[in-house]
Symmetry: C2
């Protein structure tokens, strides 16, 4: 992240971490506490709770303890879903360390995820009230629905851009939208403000994921910490590929041949596939879509007066587009 944004948000992320450490003292069992600490304190940037805090501030909300505690909801739900994902994917690594399911067992990790899930709901319902709980539960349900939509379409080369965005909305955008909207609700803002912040969060989440998909083709492994080509090797239909497939029958046919291959074969044809997608304009199209979503998100914030609160959200949005890791 850029130094200037970092300087502005660092006190907030530190405060979020302090509240989180205090909140997790509710755990009795020392082993459960250890697993959850390992999963939570791993260098994450706390983007979701930060957005709750910044959204509430933009709506004139005060930086009360309840705001920070409510914000933890979104870090917990995010961490719970990563824990369950690691079990599902038999993950070896997470953020450069051994994945929790390798340090302990699937049993520990599934249960720790369940604990964080119910703690998140408790915070949302008791600090944010019924409306916040409703938003949070809807986001949690949307995450599962989107995973199923994706499961039903694994290895389906025919999926549309619409399908791609529908999965992204559920898997990534819904929770980030809820993080922003909940901050606005807690601050007692108008429905118009709540909608603007929900849209900001949703679009930020969508762009974040599109850039993630681009980095999987063009990222610098020294910066991202992971090799390029994983998505293509898995046959994952991301936006640049979906776009390229419908540009010409020649490109479509060539990419289809690669995609129908075994994973090892796809690894070998990755560079050629990337060239085809590049030539078809798939990467620039995806980058344009991401930029368009961020523009729309920022435009929506114009209902708020200009000032440091809006600038900080703008800087975060800019970071999402420019990030190279």
């Amino acid at each position: 992240m850029k130094q200037s944004i970092l300087t502005n948000i660092q006190p907030e992320t530190e405060k979020i971490d302090q509240f989180m450490r205090r909140d997790l003292e509710v755990i009795d069992d020392p082993l459960l506490a250890e697993v959850i600490s390992y999963a939570i304190f791993n260098g994450g940037k706390r983007i979701r709770p930060l957005l709750t805090v910044l959204a509430a501030r933009l709506c004139g909300g005060e930086a009360l303890d309840d705001l920070y505690r409510l914000a933890l909801t979104f870090e917990y739900l995010h961490a719970a879903s990563l824990l369950h994902d690691d079990v599902i994917d038999h993950a070896e690594q997470r953020r450069g360390r051994r994945a929790a399911n390798k340090v302990w067992t699937n049993t520990h990790v599934i249960l720790a995820g369940d604990f964080l899930h119910s703690r998140a709901m408790w915070l949302a319902g008791t600090l944010g009230g019924e409306r916040c709980l409703d938003k949070v539960c809807q986001a949690a349900s949307a995450m599962v629905e989107a995973e199923f939509l994706q499961l039903r379409n694994v290895q389906n080369m025919e999926i549309s851009e619409e399908h791609y965005f529908q999965v992204l909305k559920g898997k990534t955008a819904a929770l980030i939208a809820a993080a922003c909207e909940t901050g606005a609700i807690l601050a007692g803002s108008t429905p118009k403000m709540q909608d603007a912040l929900a849209l900001f969060g949703a679009n930020l989440g969508l762009s974040f994921q599109i850039i993630d998909d681009l980095l999987d083709y063009h990222g610098d492994p020294a910066r991202t910490g992971k090799a390029v080509g994983n998505d293509f090797q898995e046959g994952k239909m991301t936006l640049p590929l979906i776009y390229a497939m419908r540009q010409s029958s020649g490109t479509r046919q060539a990419l289809s041949v690669f995609l129908q291959d075994e994973p090892a074969g796809r690894r070998g044809s990755f560079a050629k596939a990337r060239d085809l997608i590049e030539a078809a304009g798939g990467f620039s199209y995806a980058r344009q879509r991401a930029a368009g979503l961020i523009d729309e998100a920022m435009h929506g914030l114009n209902i708020f007066p200009a000032g440091p609160g809006r600038d900080l959200l703008g800087a975060l949005a800019g970071y999402v587009l420019e990030r190279d890791k």
Copy 2:
């Protein structure tokens, strides 16, 4: 279950199922709906939601739609924990059918459990309000804490009766207590009534589990549908065994030798171990504890006027003690 109880509760369980089918229509994805239907509509007796309904009625609450919908919380959380348990235990079977993780994959089952978990929290918070959500989240957290307590003590022959009850309270009793207490809260009853019903539920849950542990030694496989001796083979320290181990150093030593054996060896020594536990009074002690807990539960209900509502809860409690499957 006895015919007389069955006749009285059947209309209620059918009503619960109707509400459940309608509630689950909220699911968009057809595959997610299929997995959840498979897990939920499997011949379960709906004891937990039934207790919510009966508790509310005993407190003078009306049989409104919201009561039945709130009651679903407890079936969903129970089903979610069974789904995650099946993944954890690599279960082959559940209630005489293939376990969901064998019909589909761990991915489907973990996610379906997460969906039910968040739907349960949504129902508790939006229909029961903050206090009900608090009780439900506390029960869900207690389930995880108890699993960890048990995980840390696997293969520990030295565990005490206190430890045994602590695990049972978290794993089984907390949710059943919350099911009863939530019904009382929704009915707007007094704190004294809520406490009496929470105690009733907790003790019912504890007795249920003690009887389960007894059936694992003495059940008739033709009735229970499962072979005896599983717990002993796994080295699981249940109440009859814990009690027998502290009766004499001779019994303790003999049982310890069996327990230190491999699972296959323990299977071979099961009949001898059962005789030792019997001679030490372990089974009659466990039965007495179960009966004592039910007595205490029923005694607590004396604050309510005698009548069909109290009788039905009494009949359910009697069934828990007398059940042979």
